[in-house]
Subunit: 395 residues, 2 copies
């Protein structure tokens, strides 16, 4: 009666959202502060002052009809110019306003790009571990997600495995750096090797294999030496999916963009396909107030020093206790090996200590948990005894 796949998707929900709902329920039962919920990537630091100040100023000063009215489907022209200029300045890109398509956040950016590209049966490759909704968006557009394990320990792309995975139906490679859930940043050398391979294979196929670069964590890196390469500088056929959710702590406001590289093959067709996909999915203009707010605050980033502090504390303590995890360069996730192979079983055991962790199975890389450390540092400190008691069960 209802679409079977949609019903199933709605019933399963994402594991992360499932835990999020459990967490709310559990906290209502045992009281605030008693649940150590490390499940969801909801920024824990406020938006930069600029954001809330600008929102208030615009509401007070602007004409309500203009401010809250429709913008062009692809976003307000002034907003798109500001975004293009900013990316050009900071990443050395050469975008025009007509390369930018404003969206309702990262999920919209991704589903629009995938829908713009996918014909029935097309393959989209992603390295594990990966954000599970990639599969949902790909399958909803009629495509198939093909997974390739990134290298053990470093989580850098495995070039040989990627080479083997590319076939006649490969439409695009989805890159996500800094990575959710591993925190890994794809380094410059890896980017060059991936792009070199894709150029070679595209030439063989006689058509581009595209890159969809999902970058909501671009600004969230913590060490001076960490550089997040801007993929379109290395590879022409790239769509960049961006969201202000993490950098400006605005996940609920649903605001981001797609940047279509102007050097892309048949650029006008590509941009049209993005616009068409937005239309087909029911996206018309991104939320108008926050289009303006973010455009006026470009470059403002929430105070991420707490994330760095959390990362250092958590990484240091967990490895001291005997857990094994990769040092995360960015994002706000720690990807930790579970002391038993079944991550879901480990997470169930963690629940006894009110520790809510996300098992890695849905990230396509069994045997890990994702720990979102975008929480108050105090919460991490309070949770450490629970982590310690938990690992003792395995000793």
């Amino acid at each position: 009666m209802y679409n079977a796949k949609m019903e199933e998707l709605g019933k399963k929900r994402s594991v992360i959202r499932e835990i999020f709902e459990y967490s709310k329920k559990r906290e209502a039962e045992i009281g605030p502060g008693k649940v150590f919920d490390f499940s969801i990537g909801n920024p824990s630091v406020p938006a930069p002052d600029c954001v809330n100040e600008t929102a208030v100023r615009l509401i007070k000063e602007c004409d309500s009809v203009e401010l809250h009215g429709y913008t062009s489907a692809q976003g307000d022209a002034g907003v798109r110019k500001a975004v293009a200029d900013y990316v050009n300045r900071t990443c050395g890109a050469s975008l025009t306003p007509d390369c930018i398509y404003m969206t309702c956040g990262a999920a919209a950016s991704l589903s629009v790009c995938i829908k713009a590209l996918a014909e029935e049966g097309d393959e989209f490759i992603v390295f594990t571990p990966f954000f599970p909704e990639y599969r949902v968006f790909t399958e909803a557009a009629g495509g198939t997600l093909v997974t390739v394990d990134s290298l053990p320990d470093t989580f850098q792309p495995d070039i040989e495995a990627l080479d083997r995975a590319i076939g006649p139906r490969t439409k695009a490679l989805i890159l996500n750096s800094p990575n959710n859930p591993s925190g890994a940043v794809i380094n410059e050398e890896s980017v060059k090797r991936v792009c070199g391979l894709l150029r070679r294979r595209s030439a063989e196929l006689g058509r581009p294999v595209f890159i969809i670069s999902d970058e909501p964590y671009r600004e969230l890196v913590y060490d001076k030496e960490t550089v997040v390469p801007y993929i379109p500088n290395e590879y022409d056929d790239t769509f960049v999916c961006y969201s202000f959710s993490k950098s400006m702590s605005l996940p609920g406001e649903r605001i981001g963009y797609v940047a279509v590289s102007p050097k892309m093959k048949d650029f006008a067709d590509a941009y049209a396909a993005v616009c068409g996909a937005g239309r087909a999915l029911g996206y018309v203009c991104a939320p108008s107030l926050f289009q303006r707010v973010t455009a006026k605050c470009l470059g403002a980033v929430s105070d991420t020093s707490v994330y760095r502090r959390n990362r250092d504390l958590l990484y240091g303590e967990l490895t001291r206790m005997g857990y094994s995890c990769v040092y995360p360069d960015g994002a706000f996730y720690l990807f930790m090996k579970t002391p038993e192979p079944d991550a879901a079983a480990f997470c169930e055991r963690a629940k006894k200590y009110e520790l809510l962790l996300v098992p890695s199975d849905d990230f396509g890389r069994p045997g890990y948990v994702r720990i979102a450390y975008c929480v108050e540092t105090e919460k991490i400190r309070a949770a450490l005894p629970a982590f310690e008691a938990l690992i003792k069960e395995y000793k």
Copy 2:
């Protein structure tokens, strides 16, 4: 290389958006106020004071992390409760918060509902004239749009024609009252007859034919005697798609909801399918600030007296000049017969007078234009000589 259908959709754009873009360009050429743009349903009156005041207050008083953070995928629980209570109070419904799914506006509400229902090849019936994006959303979900002409002159549903159109693949009937583009309100008698027919045909088919009731103009009616029936009171298997765009003059903010009737067959499956469709299309939570703002301002409606004044002025003057149009009970559109059969040719001719009207072909009812009178009354007055000169060409 790109999805052919998306590329085509992006290149064609909707006729309305096409004119909207032309209008901006033309105004830049000949100066502000010189273009009589009646093309787009962008409210011309400000949001109710409550909206902007509440937005400022929430930004100033609330914790930024909480205010701009993710809500549950289906929307904040408190917001959904407020919406359910309000609809119950004003429409005699019996919704619980778990019947409500908050969305990024009407387009999202519709595309989510259609995606939740459609299996490949399913048919969705709509009466002409109809909002052209229904076709886009239906086809994007793998369905087919079947059109049935509403009755001439009154634009009430043609029950016999609907009966003939229902077949083994019919999944749902889309109703839109007050109607875009005709302004017609489906009266109580018509609603009862449509629902009676659907009940009979559903029984024959052994499964429900659903109603998707698209109601963004519910509050925009201008005569005391005009009642907009609440469809779920007459028909259990109904999804109501609502948006605050028109009633609160917030089209750019993308905020609305789907209400799934609790009496629907297999309600839990239906609601799950809506959640799943939202997820598949990349909608996660509706914009969080405006979820809260609209929930706190339920019942507040922009001052629509200007629309009534505009309707009366425009209808009076155009019929006086010799144009023929149906008296619109609601929404802010006048649907006018063109004095030549080719509406597009008429609109081209109108452009000479800087009059921008939308030809009715894409609304599935050739030979009309849609005139959006959600503009300043002064603009209508200023445009009257142009309308007069235009009809003289046909005399």
